[in-house]
């Protein structure tokens, strides 16, 4: 797959082994630009060892990790055996989960599979993903990823294209949520964006209620206008209290199961 990349639904077909950079700017190397133990995730994941892998196929204007997360080679290069030992060490010191994020970690499928193969015991891997991968990627992660931590960011293709620069967002992500949820435990997050309650949160929550009502759902109302959002007229503020209240009311009305 790396020879003609189909890791994500852009299906660019770039030969990443030959060193050709894909639209995500990645070749076949994986670099980690940050890692630390987090206590800010959902309680069931804590303590969670956060491993930030560089490179992303989205360009969300509000990304709090941007622009560092877009760079393919910042930090340290990930060598599978060494990473497996590192993850095992953290699990040994009390980390409950190894949280792979980025950037977009599914773009590093080959490295994740190598790490899993190098580990002496199955690792408690969490894939914190934008869920824009191909079904082939989900199939290959079967038995490797212990939990999908899915960011369901947009309820409309118009917003996804405008804010993150991706096409066919709703179709791809909803398909993948069903595939991933059939394969491993799933936890879905939605970051409420200012002015995007009716177009994004509402359809996201309605879809969750209709298709994945038993899946834990995290409503994040802590939006801050990071990176290019600060200069965007439509995303340059935090939520109002009224927006927070409306968001909470939607999730409560639809009876979504809230994650802790």
């Amino acid at each position: 797959m790396l020879r003609a990349c189909t890791f994500c639904e852009r299906r660019c077909g770039v030969d990443r082994v030959a060193g050709n950079a894909a639209p995500c700017r990645l070749d076949d190397q994986t670099w980690c630009f940050k890692r630390h133990v987090s206590f800010a995730e959902e309680l069931e994941l804590l303590p969670s060892y956060m491993v930030y892998l560089g490179g992303c196929n989205f360009r969300c204007r509000f990304c709090v990790q941007a622009p560092t997360c877009f760079a393919p080679r910042i930090g340290t290069r990930v060598e599978a055996g060494q990473a497996a030992r590192d993850f095992e060490r953290l699990v040994g010191t009390g980390a409950r989960t190894i949280n792979l994020l980025g950037g977009e970690p599914s773009l590093h499928l080959h490295t994740i599979l190598e790490i899993a193969a190098e580990a002496a015991e199955p690792l408690p891997l969490v894939l914190n993903s934008n869920m824009y991968m191909t079904p082939e990627v989900i199939a290959l992660l079967n038995g490797v990823v212990g939990l999908y931590l899915a960011d369901f960011k947009f309820g409309s293709d118009v917003c996804a294209a405008s804010i993150a620069g991706v096409d066919r967002y709703v179709e791809v992500v909803t398909r993948n949520l069903l595939l991933a949820g059939a394969q491993a435990p799933l936890l879905v997050r939605h970051l409420v964006m200012p002015g995007h309650i009716e177009c994004c949160l509402l359809p996201v929550a309605e879809w969750m209620a209709a298709h994945l009502p038993d899946v834990p759902f995290t409503l994040n109302t802590g939006y801050v206008p990071a990176w290019r959002a600060a200069a965007s007229s439509d995303l340059s503020r935090t939520l109002t209290q009224d927006e927070r209240d409306r968001a909470e009311a939607i999730v409560a009305r639809l009876g979504l199961r809230r994650a802790a």
Binding site: K34, H36, V37, F39, A40, L43, V64, T76
Partner: protein, 86 residues
């Protein structure tokens, strides 16, 4: 932006320091990004009734100090069961 001591192995891109961003919104809300275990007490001081933060602090203390440390930080007896996440 503060530079907190890296809580694990000091191997992040910026050396042995982890950048922790704290933003204060115009409504007075405080937003922590990449908050370390050592900074959780600060967050809890800002929101002392937040049960989620209390549980996060307990989980952090249990990892760093063992159950006695968790209870000490929560003002509980040393041998009480820490409120670890389910």
């Amino acid at each position: 932006m503060l530079k907190a001591v890296h809580p694990t192995d000091g191997s992040d891109a910026l050396g042995d320091r982890l950048p922790v961003t704290i933003r204060i919104g115009p409504d007075g809300r405080v937003y922590f990004h990449d908050v370390t275990a050592e900074m959780l007490p600060i967050a809890l001081a800002l929101s002392p009734d937040d049960e989620g933060l209390k549980q996060r602090l307990a989980a952090a203390s249990a990892m760093l100090d063992g159950p006695a440390g968790a209870n000490a930080r929560l003002g509980r007896p040393p041998h009480a069961s820490p409120e670890l996440c389910p």
